[in-house]
């Protein structure tokens, strides 16, 4: 009786296995952690890839929910591109573990950690503890907000796609060259926009912007968060207001997924200060639909705001 039940269960399982469909082979299925990586994968892969980005540009990429619908997407992927540096530590491991997809496990051919060839800032050089807040032990993971790193990510994507689909190697190389040229031209434009504000001191909410601010010559003198991942506290806010007054910082940059109450209160206490909400990722605002537009959008807002607060 029990044995028969077991055999029936096995037979049902076998039938279910046999019914599994073969997915379309034409395009490479690329799944990325964020829309920034998705945009770069689209730039390089063109119509030879089909790209799905899991986290939306307007959500906090540290706190994405590992939804079962994501498991489905990851289970069909030929290539997974992650931000790495523990940005996705809270949600990517369960997705990969439940994906039943050997191709995209860390260490396999179809897993690309985009942080491997880029310039990473804030790598801790001393002992770190969680008393310092939610620190990332292998450096700041918000590295995509710098065009040079965007270029390096695109190179890694080009090489990886060529490895997975050697027949299209020349196609990916040509797409990369085109992206590289457009990025270089845009960088000239962006540098010119930001040139007048070199060395201006600003404040950001979270440590999302070190690469961005370094690239465009702004100096981050403080954060609205007392420590990474720790919500604003009254004592820290008072200190920050005093620091901003002392150092002449008048701009507070906030990500769209943070509450504006505290930044606004700080700006009200510092004469002439302003809050500006920048898009930290592609998709962070409706009009930011690709990697180049991300900088166009942010630098436009930033330079307009800087013009108002500095009078330059």
């Amino acid at each position: 009786m029990r044995i028969r039940a077991f055999i029936i269960a096995l037979a049902v399982a076998a039938a279910v296995v046999a019914a599994s469909p073969a997915y379309a082979q034409g395009k490479l299925n690329v799944v990325t952690s964020t829309e920034d990586l998705g945009s770069i994968a689209r730039e390089v892969g063109g119509d030879k890839v089909s790209v799905t980005a899991l986290a939306k540009g307007y959500q906090d990429p540290h706190f994405v929910e590992p939804k079962p619908s994501f498991i489905l997407a990851v289970s069909r992927a030929n290539l997974y591109i992650a931000i790495g540096r523990e940005l996705e530590i809270g949600w990517l491991p369960p997705l990969l573990n439940s994906s039943r997809n050997a191709k995209i496990q860390p260490g396999a051919n179809g897993y690309l950690d985009a942080s491997q060839n880029v310039r990473i800032l804030e790598i801790p050089t001393t002992q770190i503890t969680r008393a310092m807040g939610d620190v990332h032990p292998s450096g700041n993971p918000h590295y995509w907000l710098e065009p040079g790193n965007g270029r390096r990510i695109a190179q890694a994507v080009r090489d990886k796609l060529s490895e997975l689909s050697p027949a299209n190697k020349a196609f990916f190389a040509q797409r990369y060259d085109d992206f590289d040229a457009r990025l270089a031209a845009a960088e000239k434009r962006w540098d010119a926009t930001m040139a007048p504000y070199k060395g201006t001191k600003i404040v950001t909410y979270h440590r999302s912007w070190p690469n961005f601010m370094e690239r465009f010559g702004l100096e981050v003198m403080g954060y609205v968060e007392p420590k990474p991942g720790i919500p604003p506290s009254p004592s820290h806010t008072i200190e920050l207001i005093a620091d901003m007054k002392a150092q002449g910082a008048k701009l507070i940059v906030v990500e769209p997924y943070f509450d504006l109450k505290t930044p606004q209160a700080i700006a009200n206490q510092v004469p002439g200060a302003k809050v500006v909400v920048l898009a930290p990722s592609v998709g962070g605002e409706k009009q930011v639909t690709d990697y180049l537009q991300l900088f166009d959008y942010d630098l436009n807002l930033l330079s307009t705001a800087l013009k108002q607060v500095t009078g330059k």
Binding site: V16, S20, Y58, D60, E65, P66, P68, G229
Partner: protein, 403 residues
Amino acid sequence: MRASYLVVLGLIASVLLGGARPASAQTSEVEALRQEIDALRARLVALEAKVAGAQAAAPSAAAPALPIYGTSSAASKIFNPDIAVIGDFLGAAGRNRVNPSPALEMHEAEASFQAVVDPYARADFFLAFGEEGVEIEEGYLTFGTLPGGLLAKIGKLRAPFGKVNTLHNHALPWSDRPIATNNLVNGEEGIGDAGISVARLIPNPWIFLEATGQVSRGDSGELFRSSRRGDLSYVGRVRGYQDLSESTNVDLGASYARGHNTAGIVNDEDVGRFVTDLWGVDATLRWRPLRRAIYNSFIGRSELLWSRRDQFGGREKAFGYYVSGDYQFGRRWFAGARYDRSERADDASLRDDGGSLLLTYWPSEFSQVRGQYRRTSYAGGENANEFLFQFMFSIGAHGAHPF
């Protein structure tokens, strides 16, 4: 840097020298120099880019090494499993004469060890250190990439019966467990023993659908007891999930479990050979607006449980359920409520009811303080009014956020 000095020196020299020359020769020479400077400048830019590239590449070579310890012997530590310990401290005040819990209790310290075993499997151990000793809460090997899209687990497992049964204490939205699971599904221990589970996604064009089957030895506290090698217990579950929008989703499940119970055991011998069948239906509705995901969310959940327990008096049919809702109203604040009602598995004429109100505060992602007011009306007319509180804290590797 040095190159730019040379360029500047060259410029100054050319201006000084050029001052003594006739105007026409001067312009052409200046032109030539300018071209040369432009050429040098281009080379400088190229060199700078190369240096920047080399600097960027440098950390990547050292990236897998541990940045903190940094000695050569530290390299072997990289294969150590991810280790974390979660402390669960409970307190209770008020009156409960039926099922009193201690005033203060270090209820559990759960140590987890998780790592990849080899290219084929990973292992997860959860050891619970409580006041009664140490227990393997779970310890299993997962084969995640088997042919046919199967996901197999082997070891001691919490069975996939409903929602609450699979959750460890620290992942619960309450400081206790619902009356229905206490009365019908072996309470805190739940259905969980040594076994093999196999799960598969069922491909279909509409929703996420997963079927799981588990065979276990058949020992789960007072619920299932195996007296012979063949007295295995079986658990099956089908789970469906669908995104209703980017911020709202629904999770539905149906579960079944069967195993030999303890009703027929007389003097350590299973003379009755009785079995218990359990049926469960669960539903979870989640809402989390992505733009404000760290500030606001809601989770509503409910489980309905039916028990069919054979015993000497015949078959006892018991039913129980709970309904609960948790609303996050700030980055660190959650308010919740739960309603409980359940008959007892061995005597369905006895029914317990209860209700709870909860407030939870998160100092950070790694600690949590919770207060719970609980009122219980036990079968037989006894009432209990209690205030429960809980401190939870976690150290070590960053675990996955529960979903």
